[in-house]
């Protein structure tokens, strides 16, 4: 009798510790979770589910997709009730699979357009990117994605408390933001930078002057670098759609010309997707190959080196809707696109981008200049101060040293005959101390 | 024995060596006290206490130490 009482007391004590820990972890986790696009997205999807509606057209992919597809225009142009964009930042192909699976189970989309660039196939999975997808899934799919895609200590991310522990200092501001989220009826205000607009579309402000796109992150594509796991998930996406009678289309969302030129074997990536599409009887469009994009989608329509801004999204969506309508009617849409990368490049009549690698050497600065342009174009560089004073006059030489200077410098690149558009970049020397 | 207690009291006047029996066990003497006591004892009683004799049973009380001194004197 006494033994069982002691045992009971011990069990209760352990349960008490577990319970207090679990409850505190849950409450703190909730308080620490910041308001993200997922909150708005989930709210809209919940409303759709509740009213028994279904998705007519679903876009899935990375941030390039949610910045360039204006779902309102899509609905309007295509005459559809529900066009949804379930894209998340840096979405992995495994994330796309689970997103598609979840949407099919809940909102039965009739057609899915899957966005692909070159990174999804060659990149390792990153926990933070996958968590953004997890935030939008049903509980069952959340657990399944954790089981299949997370290993080792990454599984700790199942705890919101652990995932958001860096927000501890902002916990009160966060609780306030959550309160306001409900008060504002899950509508995000335009903050002048980027905001969640409608059914997954994120309107981005900002505009880059033509020729002023910075040369960021060189990407490399090669079939050898493609990871088996990513191919596996791409095939799973295709299989899943087939099994459920969902029409699947592949596409590449528009990006800057810089990004296309600064990706090794960019054309091979495009060919790879075309091959996958052909093998599976799917349609694939690369919106970067849109004819006359230099005219209607210049760098000004981009908010940064990779994404379209809201205005650019409007143009892209209208045009893409037109193409989809024609396809629906069985018409040939190949005239909308350049057939090859070379053909596209012929329409580029400018120096695409220029860049200077700057290093401080004692009192002087060491400059390594480079640029992106069509093959065969002779390039000349000039370096000026912020007042327009010429430090290094037009030269083909790429390695320079400038001394005793502060403030900003401007690097300009032009073609030999100056018959192409120029590119330029401004650098603040104090950043290179 | 009185001589021994006098030696020890000179080194640690705050301890009552007549009655204390846990000098080592209760950390009443520190290592410097022990060295000092051993030094004086060696000089006064003409013995050579060495490291091997540094056991609690020999130093826990003045009488225990006195036993050790007698034993060492006999061995000579």
């Amino acid at each position: 009798m006494r033994d069982s009482r002691v045992l009971l007391k011990r069990v209760l004590s352990i349960l008490e510790i577990v319970l207090i820990t679990a409850v505190t972890a849950f409450l703190l986790g909730r308080a620490l979770t910041p308001v993200t696009y997922a909150d708005y997205f989930n709210h809209e999807m919940d409303l759709l589910e509740e009213s028994g509606e279904e998705i007519d057209l679903l876009f899935v992919g990375s941030s390039r997709i949610y910045n360039s597809i204006d779902t309102r225009i899509m609905e309007e142009e295509l005459g559809l009730d529900n066009v949804v964009d379930a894209s998340t930042a840096s979405q992995t192909i495994s994330g796309s699979y689970y997103m598609i699976k979840d949407m099919i189970e809940r909102l039965k989309p009739k057609k899915i357009i899957l966005g692909l660039t070159c990174d999804e196939m060659v990149d390792e999975e990153k926990a933070q990117a996958m968590l953004l997808v997890i935030d939008r899934l049903s509980l069952r799919n959340k657990l399944e994605m954790f089981r299949h895609c997370f290993y080792g200590s990454d599984l700790l991310y199942m705890l919101d408390l652990y995932r958001y522990r860096d927000n501890l200092d902002d916990i009160f501001a966060n609780i306030q933001a959550r309160k306001e989220l409900v008060e504002n009826d899950y509508v995000q205000e335009d903050d002048g930078v980027a905001y969640y607009c409608y059914k997954g579309f994120v309107y981005a402000h900002g505009s880059i002057k033509t020729g002023n796109v910075p040369m960021y992150t060189k990407l490399v594509f090669s079939e050898d670098a493609i990871l088996d796991r990513n191919v596996e998930y791409l095939n799973k996406c295709i299989e899943l759609c087939k099994e459920n009678g969902v029409e699947l289309e592949l596409f590449s969302a528009p990006t800057t010309v810089m990004r296309m030129y600064y990706t090794d074997h960019y054309d091979e990536a495009v060919e790879y997707y075309q091959k996958v599409a052909d093998e599976n009887g799917l349609v694939y469009h690369n919106l970067n190959y849109l004819v006359d994009r230099e005219t209607f989608l210049p760098d000004e329509m981009m908010c940064d080196y990779s994404h379209t801004n809201g205005e650019g999204a409007k143009l892209v969506s209208k045009l893409f809707a037109e193409i989809l309508k024609k396809e629906e009617a069985g018409e040939d849409v190949s005239e909308y696109f350049y057939p090859t990368f070379e053909a596209f490049c012929e329409s580029v009549h400018r120096i695409v981008a220029v860049d200077a690698k700057i290093r401080k050497e004692g009192d002087a600065y060491d400059l390594e200049l480079r640029s992106l342009q069509n093959p065969g174009v002779k390039v000349l560089y000039q370096v000026e101060t912020e007042n327009g004073e010429v430090l290094i006059p037009w030269t083909e030489e790429t390695h320079h040293t400038i001394s005793k200077l502060t403030g900003q410098i401007k690097v300009v690149a032009r073609s030999g005959d100056d018959d192409l558009g120029r590119a330029y970049q401004v650098y603040d020397l104090s950043n290179y101390e | 024995m009185d001589q021994l207690i006098e030696i020890m009291s000179r080194i640690r006047p705050d301890i009552d060596f007549m009655t204390a029996t846990t000098l080592i066990d209760d950390d009443l003497l520190d290592s410097f006290d022990i060295i000092a006591i051993v030094g004086e004892v060696n000089h006064e009683f003409d013995v050579e206490i060495n490291v091997n004799d540094l056991l609690p049973e020999n130093f826990n009380s003045a009488s225990a130490l006195y036993e050790l001194i007698k034993k060492l004197q006999e061995e000579d």
Binding site: E16, L161 | I35, G39
Partner: protein, 521 residues
């Protein structure tokens, strides 16, 4: 296998489970297997050093034991003269065996640890690049198990106890995984004896041990690691900061060291406790010490006791020491006779202690500064007593006790500037900025805690308060009382909060895999 990792927790759980599944007689074998396995995860070549050193000492001790037993058997039937002769012969033989064994085992350790140090010193006098450094790796824990082995051999030499006859039992003691990497230094008649006893499962031991492990992880992963970030940031920018930051840094460094070291000890003691084994305590509320001398009897206790028993006493109680004492007595009086042998012994002890920590002159300097402080208070003990009497300061007044505690803490923390800096020159530079900089600058608390978020600062402060409270209760002997009177809900709530804190704060740049500070010894 890193201790601060899920893998290690899983390993411990597996060991405990296997340990209590196996019949009590064989439980030590589980420990042996687990300890060897644990050590192997650090590199199989390392195990070779461990095995070879332990074999040399084991057989050395056995050889001495055999000679002693032989003498004991034969001496009963001998007359006094022959007995004395045989005793001398035995002593000689034991000396020879122990010297060879110690020379090899200690020699290996010295070569591994100090070769580069000696090379760097020689190179200072050579032109050009000098001799090139070696890249030998120090086997983990070698500074600890080497000394455990030496202590065992010396104890057998001194007939303190009989040599162990079962090598596997002996190896279990040497390799016992909770104490092999960072200590505590264990004596064979303590830990070895415990490992031979049969231990029964006890739920209370399990819970006490688990609580202690949790507390240890909290101190290490939350308090120590975060303080380390802050102190590293101040150390790398001290030339640009007002002196108040430098003072804050060296004071907080003491808390970082304390949390790191006792955290590790708590984890290992907790694990041992679950296994029914009590490891020697290494800390006894050290920051409540009233003198620096007392501090070194409360901090890293087993290290101090090792040096006391195997270096200090032998040096201060041999015939040379007595000659010195007599010389001092006849030239300078009784006080000198009392103190001089101790001073000489201290000189060697503190030099060795400093060098044991690291093969660097900065640690030697650190050791000798500590020594000088201790010698100073020994030398002028009576003068200080007179001053206190003149000022009517009562020994047991709260004011005086607090003063002594704070004084000791500041002194110890200050001396750590030498051991905590990159080098002696770095330490001197730090000191220069410390004494010339502005001390009375108003700095908001959150800014003092450089590189730390407000939430991290709060948890560190709470952690330190908890550590101080626990120390005060322990010092007053009230700890058990408090624990029993504490309502279950509060106790469980605190444990839950420790777990939550670890999830919230552990890791970061250290990534849940930060190393423990004493492991590199």
């Amino acid at each position: 296998m890193n201790v601060a990792s899920f893998l290690f927790l899983f390993f411990v759980a597996a060991v405990v489970f296997a340990y209590y599944c196996v019949p009590p007689r064989h439980r030590w074998l589980v420990l042996l297997a687990a300890s060897i396995f644990f050590y192997c995860t650090y590199g199989i070549p390392h195990v070779a050093y461990l095995i070879i050193s332990s074999l040399i000492i084991f057989f050395g001790a056995l050889a001495m034991q055999k000679a002693s037993s032989q003498y004991a058997n034969e001496s009963a039937s001998l007359d006094k003269q022959e007995k004395k002769q045989r005793k001398e012969a035995l002593k000689k033989k034991k000396k020879k065996i122990s010297r060879i064994a110690i020379a090899i085992v200690l020699g290996v350790w010295i070569v591994l640890k100090y070769t580069n140090f000696m090379i760097s010193n020689i190179n200072a006098f050579l032109p050009g690049d000098g001799i090139s450094y070696v890249s030998w790796i120090m086997p983990l824990g070698i500074s600890f198990y080497t000394f455990d082995l030496l202590g065992y051999l010396i104890d057998v030499y001194r007939d303190k106890y009989e040599a162990e006859t079962d090598y596997l039992r002996f190896l279990t003691y040497v390799s016992f995984f909770p104490h092999i990497i960072q200590g505590p230094f264990s004596r064979y008649d303590d830990l070895g004896r415990q490992l031979k006893q049969e231990h029964r499962f006890s739920y209370d031991q399990l819970m006490e041990g688990a609580t202690r492990i949790l507390w240890g992880f909290f101190k290490k992963l939350v308090v120590a690691d975060k303080l380390a970030v802050m102190i590293a940031a101040i150390k790398s920018s001290y030339t640009e900061r007002p002196a108040v930051f430098l003072v804050f840094a060296f004071l907080m460094y003491s808390f970082q060291l304390y949390a790191d070291f006792t955290g590790y000890m708590d984890i290992m003691s907790g694990i041992s406790h679950i296994l029914g084994i009590k490891l020697a305590e290494n800390f006894r509320q050290p920051y409540l010490s009233k003198t620096v001398d007392e501090f070194w009897r409360r901090w890293h206790i087993t290290l101090g006791e090792w040096f006391r028993d195997y270096v200090f006493y032998p040096l201060s109680m041999n015939s040379m020491a007595y000659k010195v004492a007599n010389y001092a007595r006849s030239h300078w009086g009784n006080k000198a006779a009392k103190l001089l042998p101790s001073y000489i012994a201290l000189f060697f002890v503190w030099g060795a202690t400093g060098l044991w920590h690291e093969a660097d002159w900065k640690y030697v300097l650190w050791g000798y500064v500590n020594m000088l402080i201790i010698m100073y208070s020994m030398q002028f003990a009576d003068t200080h007593l007179k001053i206190r009497q003149r000022l009517h300061i009562k020994e047991d007044s709260l004011f005086w006790n607090l003063f002594c505690i704070v004084r000791t803490f500041v002194l110890i923390s200050f001396v750590r500037i030498f051991s905590g800096s990159e080098s002696i020159t770095a330490a001197i530079s730090y000191l220069r900025y410390l004494f010339s900089g502005s001390l009375f600058v108003a700095v908001p608390l959150s800014e003092l805690f450089v590189e730390l978020k407000t939430s991290e600062m709060i948890v560190i402060i709470v952690g330190i308060i908890m550590m101080i409270a626990a120390d005060i209760w322990n010092e007053k002997g009230q700890w058990n009382d408090i624990r029993q009177k504490c309502p279950m809900l509060l106790r469980n709530g605190i444990l839950a909060m420790l777990i939550i804190s670890i999830i919230l704060f552990a890791g970061g740049e250290n990534d849940l895999l930060g190393g423990f500070m004493y492991a590199r010894f």
